[in-house]
């Protein structure tokens, strides 16, 4: 039954596509044609796919934005891998991403599972909880820049905790601030992901466990956590892509400093393009970021067998 239906609609495809205007008699019987998807496809192609192709092309060109771009082969790429700041920026991006994942994942799993429960004060607490989700990275960065300002902010009034150190003046503390701020901003989002997933864990599993006499913590490790594995992958991929492409936070909080100690790749790309006007090199960094993010995501999907575990996605 289904196969014939498919075959018929495949046959009538040509008819549907030529008849743009949905004619009452003919189209009603079949399925909507490509015309319904076309406007979105054209728009997306024009403003996302074409620029993507252009940035790949530009990564093989030498261009200062004024003269015409010239084909330069692998020059930009060679330059990149000979550039110590570039190599350092890549490591910094990976380090920040890794630290972000390590700090945020356990935190958001715990908070998400907690928020999925039925505590009396949960609604009130989570109302404040999710506010950072709504703020722009710009607002968050400006807020924390003010709160952590060495002269007017909290450190000036809590010397017992911060000493008289300028948090933005040392690499380790500057990185610490960046990790903390992104944790502050993004933990609520991942908490939401885990909250949704934890709510959809079948109740029978817990009932069975309770009959077997399993306590709260055993239930958490043996039921909740395994059931969350797909969400862990989803959330981690979001963290990786988000972490590798962090930009506003660095621009406002540290300006890549002290020195180039927090110059991550995305920020370095911006500088290459709009401060040094080396658009070829900037494009190469852009392409590299896309490649690294895609590879890490693919590896994570493969390693965790995410692509074969569609069954636990049901009900999400």
């Amino acid at each position: 039954m289904t196969t014939t239906a498919t075959a018929v609609s495949a046959d009538s495809k040509g008819v549907e596509r030529s008849g743009r205007r949905p004619g009452r008699s003919r189209e009603g019987a079949g399925r909507p044609g490509f015309a319904w998807a076309a406007p979105a496809a054209v728009f997306f192609g024009l403003f996302a796919i074409v620029p993507l192709a252009l940035v790949v092309a530009l990564s093989f060109a030498s261009w200062n934005g004024l003269s015409d771009p010239e084909f330069a082969g692998l020059d930009n790429w060679k330059k990149l891998f000979d550039d110590p700041i570039m190599i350092k920026s890549l490591w910094l991006s990976l380090l920040l991403t890794l630290l972000g994942v390590v700090v945020q994942t356990p935190l958001s799993i715990l908070l998400g599972v907690w928020a999925a429960g039925h505590q009396r004060n949960r609604a009130v607490l989570s109302a404040i909880y999710f506010v950072p989700l709504l703020l722009s990275a710009t607002a968050v960065s400006v807020l924390w820049r003010a709160v952590l300002d060495p002269n007017f902010g909290v450190p000036a009034h809590a010397k017992w905790l911060f000493g008289d150190g300028n948090l933005f003046g040392m690499q380790s503390s500057a990185i610490g601030v960046l990790i903390f701020v992104s944790t502050w901003q993004f933990t609520p989002l991942h908490t939401l992901i885990y909250q949704g997933a934890a709510r959809s864990v079948p109740r029978v599993l817990y009932q069975a466990a309770e009959i077997d006499g399993a306590g709260r913590y055993r239930q958490f490790f043996h039921i909740t956590l395994p059931q969350l594995r797909n969400s862990v992958v989803t959330s981690m991929i979001l963290m990786v892509v988000g972490g590798l492409t962090t930009f506003d936070t660095v621009l406002i909080l540290t300006q890549g400093g002290p020195g180039t100690d927090t110059t991550i790749s995305a920020y370095y790309m911006y500088q290459k393009a709009f401060k040094s006007f080396d658009y070829g090199a900037a494009s190469a960094i852009g392409v590299m970021l896309i490649l690294v993010a895609t590879i890490i995501s693919l590896v994570m999907v493969r390693l965790t067998g995410y692509d074969k575990m569609n069954s636990t996605m049901e009900g999400m």
Binding site: G28, A40, V50, Y129, L134, T138, A139, F152, V241, D248
Partner: protein, 273 residues
């Protein structure tokens, strides 16, 4: 359920996190109601000695009204474009058997992995070339494009849940695709539609990189740019700066207060699917 003991550890942990989230918000709010001298001498935790709204008034006088208006225009346009384009797209993805449509869906899935920063260089030159540099339209178009993949993913997820029997029943009655779309698909996808409205509105309202690279003059600045300028130009005026932060998030915060449940559920769908 009722016989369970309270989970003390979880309660403690969640309270700590509440403080981590809440304290900076408190500091921010309180700072905006005092003058610079008081803030400097009393520190960020003290309640305002002389309550004042001057910080907000000053911000508004230094252009934030214009930035506000621009951001509203950008946000409404982005939401309109996304909904108008993604709704029929998702309908086609779910219902069409055309090979082209399948290809388009793959293209959008690929788009999920493209960070908007990666294309900022060609975008800058393309917009300059067609004369849309420093024009709100120049921000609206790419912002909408990059919000589309996630929105398509969300909406197709919701539309897939509509049972085939409903389509069949309508088709039997001789309904056109247009009627099926408007009388069946759209009404049954309300939750998905509100999610993509929320998501694309947040994207547009909070956008930073496209406005940073694609605009320049005060007439076309959006609120995030206003904030960024404030920080670079008058970075020591903490109360004024924090008032600007509050202004930048006020509309969203108001929406959040009134429609928290819908908003949170919408955002939940972003990561959950």
């Amino acid at each position: 359920m009722s016989r369970r003991r309270p989970n003390i550890l979880a309660g403690f942990g969640s309270t700590v996190w509440l403080l981590v989230v809440g304290l900076p918000l408190y500091v921010m709010l309180v700072a905006t109601f005092q003058n610079r001298a008081d803030y400097g001498s009393n520190g960020p935790f003290a309640l305002p000695e002389h309550f004042t709204l001057d910080n907000y008034v000053d911000d508004f006088n230094s252009g934030f009204g214009q930035y506000f208006l621009n951001t509203v225009i950008v946000t409404l346009s982005v939401v309109a474009i996304v909904v108008l384009l993604v709704a029929p797209l998702s309908y086609a993805i779910v219902r069409s058997r055309s090979r082209m449509t399948g290809l388009v869906f793959r293209l959008f899935l690929l788009g999920l992995a493209i960070p908007s920063q990666a294309v900022i260089v060609p975008m800058f030159f393309a917009m300059s070339e067609v004369g849309l540099y420093d024009n709100l339209i120049g921000i609206i178009l790419p912002t909408a494009a990059f919000a589309m993949p996630v929105c398509a993913l969300i909406l197709t997820g919701v539309m897939r849940d509509i049972t085939p029997e409903l389509y069949e029943a309508m088709t039997m009655d001789g309904a056109t695709h247009r009627r099926v779309f408007f009388q069946l698909v759209l009404p049954l996808s309300k939750s998905g539609l509100s999610t993509i409205v929320v998501f694309s509105a947040l994207q547009a309202w909070n956008g930073f990189l496209f406005p940073l690279v694609l605009t320049q003059s005060a007439g076309s600045k959006v609120i995030t740019m206003g904030l960024y300028d404030f920080q670079t130009e008058h970075g020591v005026d903490m109360p004024g700066m924090l008032a600007a932060v509050v202004l930048s998030m006020l509309p969203i915060l108001l929406v959040y207060l009134f429609a928290r449940r819908a908003l949170v559920q919408g955002l939940m769908g972003v990561g959950g699917k």
